[in-house]
Amino acid sequence: MFAMKTRLFISRYGLFFVGVILVGTMVFLALLAPWICSYGPNALDVNAILLPPGSDHLLGTDALGRDVFARLVYGARVSLWVGFVAVGISASIGLVLGLVAGYFGGLVDEIIMRCVDVMLCFPSFFLILAVIAFLEPSLTNIMIVIGLTSWMGVARLVRAETLSLKERDFVKAARISGASIVRILGMHILPNALTPVLGSATLGIAAAILTESALSFLGLGVQPPVPSWGNILMEGKDVMEIAPWLSVFPGMCILLTVLGYNLLGETLRDLLDPRLKQR
């Protein structure tokens, strides 16, 4: 009986916990970075150039003698921060537009949803690249641009949710009792529409981290010497033949973090979906 329960538990929540562990580890490392690393992320050491992984430098050193482990841990700060802020921006835009489109319907809805269609048709990586090249490539700009080009999914979700919520009795009651539109949207509809957004936003964090690392890899993202997983990979590419660890470990970090967020997002979406729960 107990064994069966455990199995059911694992099959239902197993992937969720793998995601929690992966993301948790990265958050933990990023938060405690100064206490974990014995070297600073930008501490140069001319006597330790391109050392392979060993006891002194856990994951080796780069072409300037900087400790790769320290750079990766500080890089985690950048990646996680980009993910959070970019999704914060895109989720806010998506929520507002979705609420407005769903609640007011008609022409407003039509215009907003057609904008969503246009944005979905857009080769957004092209646009991001072009914009970043004209602005100074910086952490802030990257977060804003990623946020501005990825709100469409949330907007669609929230709109669909709002469409059904606005017909519910508690919303009608609020309307009849004279609540303002802002109050109806913010206090009555928004909290109920948030659940499906959670899973989608978590997946969005993963996508944002991937985009940031790709931009940094192309030299259009986070600028050296600030470490980011993408730009460590970029610097490692030139010395790939003699120092493969510079190309392997940062990618592993990206893979594990994105995997963690994807698992979290997918399982959250399933767990929070009442239609799937009843089955």
Binding site: F122, P123, F125, F126, L127, A130, F217, L259, L263
Partner: protein
Amino acid sequence: MIFPFFKHILVKILWLGVVFIGITVLSFWVIHLAPGSPTDLQTTLNPMAGEAARARLEKLYGLDKPVHVQYLNWMSRIVRLDFGRSMSGDHRPVWDKIKERLPLTLGLNIMAMFLILGISIPIGVISAYYQGGWFDRISTVIVFVGFAMPGFWLALLLMLFLGIAYPLFPISGLTSLGFATLSWWDKLCDLANHLALPLLVYTITGLAGMSRFMRSSMLEVLRQDYILTAKAKGLPTRTVIFHHGLRNGLLPVITLLGLSVPGLIGGSVIIESIFALPGLGQLFYQGVMSRDYPLIMGNLVLGAVLTLAGNMLADFGYSLADPRIRAGK
């Protein structure tokens, strides 16, 4: 009745025109709004050039006019396929530059698409049919990892293992030295050799999403009543899966193919830069680095057109494949 079908297509084409205008307005506006001008490279960075030279350059490129006038001028040239001349480097017409690079990028992506479909459809069908079985579990794990895999890192790893540690394939460029002297067969082999790694990267990164999608689409179909009916009629499993199941399961895949075009175009920027392939992505990257307005806009427009063409084809394919839409319902 064939009429509703044509009406459907006509409405679609009109809508695509609207989307096209939306995309170009947005790109034009964003790029012109951003600080920094394409003349910076020739003026601010050049101590010999003064304010007068800058003004002259801006006049030459039409940058002194208001943005909407610039847009209308630009648009009237675009419809005649005149993308203007590149502002940096060789100053050749943008359209020529795009034309010579289009075949490589398109060819690679189409080949990758066929490979992806060829591999992911069987994976999806088998996983769905034996849901929860060992094949399904293993492929789910692989799919999750593949989904999280950054394409450029995969490219680096493949270069590291198949290019450097076990040098099976060349790691950069499109052709070897002395390509022109080879016979046509050797030329073909040389090309294939150079394209093997990029193709592998495209295929592996695209595989995860597609097989996952195929699996869920198939699961949905296998749950339908007509599958039960087919089984109850005593049809062989093969007929049930391929004739009744797969044909319906493939419908959403057509739409997904259309939607995946922007991702492919974006991805080629990275892959082509890594493997030093002279394709569109690399051209765009160069344009971005040198702030070449006409080149960037030309690429964005082309990207938009390809995306819309993808959507259009998908929609058309969908209507052909789905009799309900064909009948205009």
